[in-house]
């Protein structure tokens, strides 16, 4: 299970963001997408999501959490489509022991265990991002698509969390603004610039001048 784009043009209405795109991502790869703001990272991720929407765990840039629901329920929503409506209705009222333990374990790894039953509207930006990651982890999916999923975490936790995600998911495609983090944790780097793929290579082959080119 992977992604494939052939001669694709991506954009919104008449506005083209990425042109003539050729891309192939195999199952098992960990890929970082880098590029300046507006280079088309989010557009590319949305196009990838369209291909396999049912099979991916999705971490959008704006977490899209429900402010009035607790951390627990926002994480549970990762499995919403895997249960009957009546089960979901029941669990909204009574979380249930097993579900509670599973989600507690996720909260522990993300260090938000003391907030498991706090409404999300009381959390900080960094904590919200961890809840969003928690939902992705809970979703029983093999592929993660993330748009700056760790941008609001400090350097230490960002690194730790990205490693955790790489171990948990078989395939991972994330956009990152921290290039060092991308080189450290992902096998493959795709750089976008001016509506095109500037380079697409193994992270061990990316040089300093490559990076300089992306951002200047």
């Amino acid at each position: 299970m992977g992604f494939e784009l052939r001669h694709r043009k991506l954009g919104y209405g008449a506005h083209t963001v990425l042109e003539n795109l050729d891309l192939n991502i195999q199952s098992g790869e960990t890929v970082a997408i880098i590029g300046k703001s507006g280079a088309g990272k989010s557009t590319l991720l949305l196009a990838l999501r369209e291909q396999l929407a049912q099979q991916v765990a999705w971490c959008p840039q704006q977490p899209g959490l429900v402010p009035t629901l607790s951390v627990h329920h926002n994480i549970y929503m990762g499995q919403l489509e895997q249960h009957h409506f009546l089960v979901n209705l029941w669990r909204l009222l009574r979380p249930g022991t097993i579900v509670k333990q599973d989600i507690q374990a996720i909260c522990q790894t993300l260090q938000i265990q003391e907030h498991q039953f706090t409404p999300c509207q009381k959390l900080s930006g960094g904590q919200l991002q961890r809840v969003s990651i928690g939902r992705a982890l809970y979703s029983n999916k093999e592929i993660l698509l993330g748009d700056e999923p760790i941008s609001a975490l400090d350097e230490f936790h960002a690194h730790k969390t990205l490693q955790l995600l790489c171990e948990h998911f078989t395939t991972l495609v994330v956009s990152l603004h921290d290039v060092d983090l991308a080189l450290n944790c992902c096998q493959r780097i795709i750089a976008l610039k001016e509506g095109k793929i500037l380079f697409d290579k193994s992270s061990s082959l990316v040089s300093k001048s490559d990076i300089h080119q992306v951002y200047n």
Partner: protein, 486 residues
Amino acid sequence: MPALRKISFYFAIVALVAIAFSDLEITTLNPWLELSLLLQGFTAPSFLDTSTLADALFKTLAFAFQGVVIAAILGFALALGFKRYWVRAFCAFIRSVHELFWALIFIQITGLSPLTGFIAILIPFTGIFAKVFAEILEETDHHAQQSLTPNTSLLSQLLYTRFTIAWPQLRSYINYRLECGIRSSAILGFVGLPTLGFELESFFKQGDYAQAAALLYVFFILIASLKYLLKPALMPLYTLAAFIYMPPVAHVSWSMVGVFLSQDIVPVSLQAGDIPAFLSWFKELWLTQILEGVFNSLILTQIALVSSALLTLLLFPLASKLFFSKAPRALGQSLLIVMRSCPEYLLGFVGLLILGPSMLPAIIALTLHNSAVIAHLLALQSAQLTFRHDRSQGVNLYFYETLPRLYGNFLALLFYRWEVILRETAILGMLGIPTLGFYIDSAFEEIRFDRAMVLILITALLNILVDNIAVYFRRRLHLNSQPQSL
């Protein structure tokens, strides 16, 4: 700002022109005498007849809870389909006819029964709930739903995202509507249903102001204490109690219903298939009643809208944190509660007793009630504003820092109220002011149901028209509220 200033200016001009066409005469010989008798009654209320009072109060509450709770459920279901044109049109129609008119219609079918009161509240409130719920759901943050896996069942999506995000707003709106429902239910007494209005009308008509005052005081206390009584966990209990206390049943004679639907409300000429006769019947109605009714309704509405606006600007600081400390503010808030708990119809009725029949009591009634409603909301919004530490004080704070920030919201609320005021002008006609409601009431009294139906239909269309104009202005002036998002 210039656009907002311009629209305010034009509405003020229209109201001034309308005053020139209106009848504001005081026709009673000695209004001060009646007023002093009324005040005497209110300073010495008489709580003699407690069992009648309690029964009328419980029946008022029962109609309100039954009607509002079931309307909220039906309204939510309709809100989910609000994208469809026919759902919107259906809801616009059922809410454009006032609950008193629904009551007058259903009295012909189900008599003066508990069922009539329940339906009279249920129908228009369902339309109102559908519209407001649809707006609230529309304004919820869509990111939450978009971030879900697409094959999640629609019900689960709704339950976990839009419904839950909107729940605090839905709940507070239901509570607000319950307050309105209790007022409407009280007013249903004026057409003969066994609620507070029935007792109030007879006390007022007999000049027994002390008994009337007692009833009204209980009513005010009830409205003021609603926020402590309406706990979400207790709602099912209240609703159940309402249905047990007064089950909404009626003896319906189906043959009578058949006659009503097929003969009473259809003009005789149309039953005979005589189109020219029908047209001349309609033309006469148009020239003698509809034109004048529409004209008077609109004049009254425009004057009341602008006078409500002016009084709101005076009143809202009284209840705002920005201008008064706790103790005086509590006084201001109580004043607003008393003013808005008083149904317009009742205020109009009392005004008529004191001032005699003209547009004046209607304008006063509409202004007092509506300005209190808007001022209350505006005071709440003013508490949410953030200022610099070196903000000015008093009058400067009001004119330079508060009013400019709130003016858009103020106009938005007024545009929401516009249609409500028009609906109310129609029913104030039942007190003798020649708006559309006056002719509707007369048609019912003369047992000319065909005429009543045409007039009600015209009233509904006029309401829908004004509602659409209000929506247009709100969009044009970008007066929509901000979506809640994280």
